[in-house]
């Protein structure tokens, strides 16, 4: 039986296949709690969790907060607009000040890739990455894998197409790291301006010449959001042209397997990366992803609490 010994979860790159399997199994078994009349277990009673968000988030922050509360932990939310960072405090100083209030876990989202590694060397409490720049978003990767596993009963051998702005996508990176470890076949497609050089180094992925090649016979089509806040102006001419070449619509979805599942990490730009017909269609598992997010985050919080100080 696998054990989970990490006190932090910063990237799926740092986890083994067995550890990822354990996190997913725990999430599956915790899901039952979310459908009860009393949606709470006493497991993390007395633990304090700080959600420190330097970037906007509704889904992820709410999901982490609900996950913590279902495990009976106490939560505090700090977002940039209300934090001292607007007064010029550095990340390290903010963290040390928070640490003085004795939290057990800090769940952080930050615009700078790798900021969680920096933080984990400064402070001893557990750190969970809720998204760092264009690096990783491990809870999203895990909930995506759980949603695929629900649908197919396995991850091994699945053809997963990831389409969109790979360069700026931490969701893509976490999925690539996780899925290739679990034995899925990952195909990437996107405009050349949005495909990072040497992306193959992240894992055994196939970079496709266009969207059709990627989604042909795919079991899973994962569409990424066009991240206008991270992009410069020069990566694509306009949204309409992007949509024509890299948008998912009922026509090109027919290239995938008939029972293929459609996923999106949200928030969706309807009519850009996906047409509304697909977003609201039968093959869409987007809301199922959100539902699984709570269980996956409960699993992460539970296991880092049992982790050893590294």
């Amino acid at each position: 039986m696998a054990e989970f010994k990490h006190k932090d979860i910063i990237a799926l790159r740092d986890l083994t296949r067995e550890e990822i399997e354990l996190l997913l199994t725990t999430a599956e078994n915790m899901r039952e709690i979310n459908s009860r009349a009393i949606k709470k277990v006493p497991t993390l009673r007395g633990k304090t969790i700080i959600n420190l968000f330097y970037e906007a988030s509704t889904r992820t922050r709410t999901s982490f907060e609900i996950a913590a509360k279902r495990l009976s932990a106490d939560t505090v939310n700090i977002s940039t607009s209300t934090s001292s960072s607007t007064k010029g405090e550095t990340l390290a100083d903010t963290a040390l000040n928070l640490l003085a209030m004795k939290p057990d876990i800090i769940v952080m989202r930050h615009a700078v890739s790798g900021s969680h590694y920096f933080l984990s060397r400064k402070i001893p409490c557990s750190i969970i990455n809720a998204g760092d720049g264009a690096h990783e978003h491990p809870s999203q990767g895990l909930l995506d894998m759980l949603t695929m596993k629900d649908r197919f009963g396995r991850l091994d051998g699945l053809k997963v197409a990831i389409v969109g702005d790979i360069t700026h996508s931490r969701v893509a990176r976490s999925n690539i790291q996780g899925l290739t470890k679990m034995g899925s076949r990952v195909y990437l497609a996107g405009p050349p301006t949005m495909m990072p050089p040497a992306v193959e180094r992240l894992g055994s992925v196939t970079v496709c010449n266009g969207m059709k090649e990627a989604i042909q016979d795919a079991d899973v089509v994962m569409m990424l959001r066009i991240q206008q806040e991270r992009q410069g102006k020069t990566l694509m001419p306009n949204a309409r042209e992007y949509s024509r070449y890299f948008g998912l619509n009922p026509e090109n979805l027919k290239l995938a397997k008939p029972d293929a599942m459609v996923m999106h990490p949200g928030p969706i730009n309807r009519g850009v990366e996906m047409s509304s017909y697909v977003v609201d269609g039968d093959q869409s598992h987007i809301l199922k992803q959100v539902e699984n997010g709570v269980a996956v985050r409960m699993s992460m919080l539970y296991h880092v609490c049992g982790g050893e100080l590294e």
């Binding site: 039952e32 277990v41 050893e308």
Partner: protein, 178 residues
């Protein structure tokens, strides 16, 4: 089998004990009406299935059988690093106004039973919770007792009592390890 191991019950001994427990449950509850069985993972869950089968043979009616995993309710969760794996709680029916018979393999300190009762209460409000165990080995640390006992076995704290199951989860032996 090593010389430090004694067999307390063999397969037919276990069968007889579970059959008697089944009769006692039916007698106490005047039949199967509103009775549900909940086994504690993992040994207790297998035994609950066995008792369910026995009761069906006796009474000709199937009672609902569920399983509860108590990991998230343990009082010693903090002392386990890394944390224990979480099993699946599988209760596909309401516990409201039911006579719940909680089933475990070995009753020892009573802490597992406390955790299981808290878990059940989060699923609903049963009319009553009764406790059935195959072995009661003593050494209670909480004010908990069993309603139905397969066998009372006086043990020392250094000993261990284990119920062994085959690959089909049928109980085959109860052993005392010194």
């Amino acid at each position: 089998m090593s010389e430090n191991t004694t067999v307390l019950l063999d397969e037919s001994g276990i069968k007889r004990a579970l059959t008697r427990i089944s009769h006692e449950i039916l007698e106490r509850n005047k039949g199967v009406r509103d009775v549900v069985l909940i086994g504690i993972r993992s040994g207790g869950a297998y035994l609950a299935e066995e008792i369910g089968r026995c009761m069906e043979i006796i009474e000709g009616e199937r009672v609902p059988v569920g399983a509860v995993d108590i990991t998230l309710y343990r009082d010693d969760i903090r002392s386990h690093a890394p944390h224990l794996p979480v099993g699946k709680t599988d209760i596909a029916f309401s516990l409201e106004e039911k006579q719940v018979v909680l089933v475990d393999d070995v009753l020892f300190t009573g802490r597992t039973i406390r955790a299981a009762m808290d878990a059940l209460m989060d699923h609903g409000r049963p009319s009553s919770i009764q406790l059935a165990v195959l072995i009661d080995r003593g050494h209670r640390e909480l004010p908990i007792r069993a309603d139905f006992v397969g066998r009372n076995v006086p043990t020392s704290l250094k000993e261990n009592v284990a119920v062994l199951f085959d690959e089909r989860h049928i109980p085959i032996e109860v052993v005392l390890e010194k």
